[in-house]
Homo-oligomer: 400 residues x 4
């Protein structure tokens, strides 16, 4: 056992830290200002940051294999954490932002040559954005077999009908392609009914209706969370990803890395929150002494440090397992971090909000928005309760 | 000891419940729609509801004494709770909304005859709105002696300079008057330095700069939470409320009822959340059975019921104490409910959000916004930690 | 609504407080010393205290109606709370100790004239003790229909076979009578299979095997918690309480008051713990200042005060409901306090233990033993989880 | 970074697991039986287990360097965890039990040649037991500078006066030697006043007065927790460990490994508790279905698994840090695990108790006693609150 980072990771870490210090943190204020007027598109300064990141060799770090930086999950984890410290900017600037990352992985793994050329390449180049359309308002989507959107073969085409929501990124006009999950084979066995299909956002019948809010936030700077209606949407049959009935398996494959990336970034958000807490505690005085000397505040800070350390280690071990025994072998650990990281980071952010007083809930500090991001991850990809149930079954089965 | 409501309260309760059923709940959807386009003003349909409420004798229920409905705190509490079930509409429709309630109480108790005629009367009639300007961004305002805004006598006028924020309601164009707290006597003893003064919102030098957000919400439908800068603002000396140096005492007097009103409404919000939880649990199915049969969800529902009951009783007892031994005699209990009610209701709303899945964080259900309201009340009028400290001192002193 | 105590309660409260100050607290140290050598019997000094209590008119206060003091539940509650401040002594000294209280109520309500004369009278006089034998080791007894002990009619006798445990008080040699629950009619409908029967402890075949521990405590001073085996135990048919098949209904009737008495005493234990916390915090110094000035300790103290107030009010309201709408009408509230009071008081006692350092876990302070008492009440009469489930069903049903 | 165990550890792990399966678990019932009658000595069967463990090469595994097995902390950690699954037997059987382990490390590191020959050797051979006498009833011993016991040089001797309590193991008649901490130099700088000295338990003036209880448990099977009074106790000057004034530094050196050993064993206790929970949940039925299907129980099991994984990883990383940057370099992490492991394992054990119903609090299942052990470790070596304060200071200082 060895807890030291390898030299590849160390070198990239140093490079990325320098990029954060020199380019990302200094851009945060301007980013917020531009975001206030840039509608559903990202603030224009993001393009410069993307150029800069690419120039510095900080590009597509998330992607293993030939198409990307070729890092293992364990190597990528500490880098994603650092990006998480400025989650509106750093992941997007390095082309490591959800949902594109998951979509690129999916296309790299399951896409046809044509699909990769047409859609993966511009995504790898950061020229377009993409969305992943799975969650539906009318069913409990945590059980993916509930998905009701229909995808029906009609000659050389598929016809899609259904309603999706919380399709992150899809409000962004530069989001050019949607990966849509629906049912092609309603009579097949439960986990062989679903398929995934590529739907260009400008296809007739695709209606991007509105942006869903997350605790009052529209998250417009990264393309919002759209409600999208598909009404007799027709796409060529070659747009199907993999084979008919393969959608559930692809979804499972996609979700593992997606979840761990979220967790990595959450750790970074927590580190940022802890730094903000300490700085605020030093800067403010109440009842004649710095807030940093209040026992309850010290308790929050110590607890935050402990919880961050524990959370990070479980995320790293999960990454190592994915690298060594595969996503399936790491299934329980992926669930464990999916359950524990958001709620832990939410707890830390709650304390950060509290420590900032009225300012903490406002737009003047990042903590309230970070809180909302962490909170919503207790629901994204299925509520904690569903994952706990599954984790418990696995545990109990050992003795049954 | 007797836990039954008296007949006056029962009669008003019944009348109010009918108003809720017939007028308020049916208006909620339209209210949200109008609110989306009515800027910083309340949705227009509110005026009709106000007329209706007044006609039904449901007006100024909060106000004891000749100017109002003459109810005790204990009588008003169950009514305020009911209003809290639809907190964007019911309090405003019955002219029982913060911060006007506190401001009217303040003017009724401490205002000069002229001040009452000029400002209290139109407030009682629901013709104008008002704001209470105390919190400042640059100091820990939970310790009111930190307030830095200066109010300087200059001949027949006072000159006001300072910066306030989170001035609820002040973005509303119909908010005509601000009650501003500042320092008139910086050299007096600590609790005799402050004064309160009436500042019409259109006075030259008053700059309503922007609306502060609360977890992404602007709360525009009830006038937002403004940042207001006072630059050499001049008002006649007769605008001072009470005497110079009396501001701290007035603030203390105002805060008690203000806090208990918030708590009463929070209980109503919690009841609403619990109802929504039950309905959702019955309506949704996962893994082959209604969510209502999931053990964890049952646990949330049972816990919510218990916590609501306990919270309500402490609020009611506090109201009874305020009626029988006065606000000062009920000081510890007011603190106790100020600490415990928001965090309890926040817990319940968190569960309500979770139970609604992705929809729970969105604009399609009221739970996320209610959550933000409860969460921010852990900070309003000073963070919980300050009040706990004070409560502990009182407890420990009994044995010192 | 009125939160003031009535004059009867006030007078008894004053009398009881004087008894506590003059007789009970001063006897605590000697009680512990005697308990160390008095085996499974109570310390001898208890007899003097019983005489004294009876002389002072503080006897059988728990019992409504002609046989007892005739108080309502609401009147008794504040008295039981005071007794709970010294739970090893005060309830026993006033003949208000479990399980005798429940057994006396049961006999007063359901016993035949003969049963009342033979067993109720000596219990009322404090001459003997009794036990209630329901819980069984081999089944989940929280579901009373699981009870497996058989009670079979054989001529003029019933024959009893079964194994019970955690039969509180039954190790005490002065425990003369057991009320045993078992199945007389295994083929009847589910809730009509059980009966209750009186079994003198010295009946052949009754084997009191051992005392069960509660976190290391034997609770020998109040007769321990026995494992009792019944092997072909024969008692006259007249020993049956009520009618065959009526056991479940009697159990339900008995449990309500039993639960609320526990809760009342728990509140008193919590008040004692809070007092001990404050005194300790004032007496100890760490890192140069009294522990009372540590923020985290202040937080515990404030939270304890708030939680006590809330818990007490819900217990009192439940008592009022039992008085006004009956035990059945108060069913949900009885469950609510049964769930919430033990865990709340356990939380407070945990903090009291922590504040007393190593001494807190030891025999030198009462807090660890009080903790164990509170903790075990999360299980007695069924674990919290069972009651929450039931409470949730009731809540959900309102909207079904 | 690499999360796999090395081959040395793997081999020992396998050997130890076999010893557990073949010798330790099968002996547990008999151990409990013998413990009931063996007074303050360990059950006699322990001697056979010690012989067997030594024969199998499972002896003094805790001790790095020439005197012991030569393992690193990281190698020892997974082994100590396994021992913790049967904490009354396995550590003692392998001569890896506290407080001997810490005392042996101390003597190996700081003892003179004579001291090592006289006391370390028989401890290494498992022939005698030892105790560490630091905590005092009259001062907050979490601040070691508060220690009041005096050690005064008088010619060739030191004279010791003071009162200690919670001296674990000292009730055991085979405990032959005490390491006593006291003040030799009350006028020196704060951290140079203390010394440590060897005091044979049979020295005149050493009075082992009584065993302190821990939530009702005497822990007699491992020698209890003694109160010891030192009255003019005289020992030769050569009994002083290291130099005068070096006691504080030695204490700091001793506490690090001691704390991590406790944490390692706690993880094992938690694994045992989780196994017991799962088995119980499968074996019991309530309301018509196995407890394993209750959602709340599944939640406990999933949470337990997650918390165990996180806790173990932080303990392992701390061990790695101690090995690579030294105990001082790992100071913050040692504090972090000292704070978080006991309370986490206590939480898991609370759920295990609850799941076992009344049996859970009793002597028939190990969970209540394990709970008490975990709970008391929130106090041993200083309450959590003291360590959190220190951890927070370190965190805040980074930004000051």
């Amino acid at each position: 056992m060895d807890f030291a980072l390898d030299s590849v990771t160390e070198a990239l870490r140093e490079r990325l830290l320098r990029f954060m210090d020199e380019c990302v943190y200094p851009a945060e204020a301007a980013f917020e200002e531009q975001a206030a007027t840039s509608g559903w598109s990202p603030p224009p300064l993001l393009d410069d940051l993307k150029d800069e990141a690419r120039k510095r060799g900080l590009w597509n770090l998330f992607l293993p294999g030939e198409h990307g930086a070729g890092l293992t999950n364990l190597q990528y984890a500490p880098l994603a954490e650092i990006m998480g410290r400025s989650p509106s900017i750093a992941p997007a600037a390095t082309n490591c932002a959800a949902p594109d990352t998951g979509n690129m992985e999916l296309l790299a793994a399951f896409g046809s040559e044509w699909q990769r050329k047409e859609w993966l390449q511009p995504l790898l180049d950061g020229e377009i954005r993409s969305a992943f359309a799975m969650t539906e308002p009318d069913v409990a989507s945590s059980d993916a077999t509930n998905i009701a959107t229909s995808i029906v073969r009609d000659g050389d085409e598929y016809v899609i009908n259904g309603r999706k929501w919380f399709i992150s990124g899809a409000m962004n006009p530069n989001c050019k392609i949607l990966i849509v999950m629906g049912k092609t084979n309603p009579d097949a066995p439960k986990h062989r009914q679903q398929s995934m299909i590529l739907v260009p956002r400008d296809t007739p019948g695709v209606q991007v209706k509105r942006g869903m809010h997350v605790f009052g936030y529209t998250d417009a700077d990264h393309g919002g969370h759209a409600e999208v209606v598909f009404e007799d949407v027709r796409v060529p049959a070659e747009n199907l990803i993999g084979e008919e009935g393969g959608g559930f398996a692809i979804a499972q494959a996609r979700l593992g890395p997606g979840r761990i990336h979220h967790c990595m970034r959450l750790i970074g958000m927590a580190e940022r929150a802890l730094e903000l807490m300490c700085r605020r505690a030093l800067a403010r005085t109440t009842f004649g002494k710095p807030v940093a000397q209040q026992g309850v505040v010290q308790d929050w800070i110590a607890e935050s440090r402990i919880r961050i350390e524990q959370s990070r280690l479980l995320v790293l071990k999960t990454a190592w397992l994915m690298d060594t025994v595969g996503n399936q072998g790491a299934h329980a650990e992926i669930q464990a971090i999916k359950i524990s990281t958001p709620i832990t980071v939410e707890w830390i952010l709650d304390k950060a909000v509290q420590l900032h007083g009225a300012g903490g809930v406002s737009q003047d500090f990042p903590v309230a928005r970070l809180w909302a991001a962490a909170r919503s991850l207790r629901l994204a990809d299925g509520p904690d309760e569903v994952h706990k149930r599954s984790l418990a079954y696995r545990e109990i089965k050992r003795y049954a």
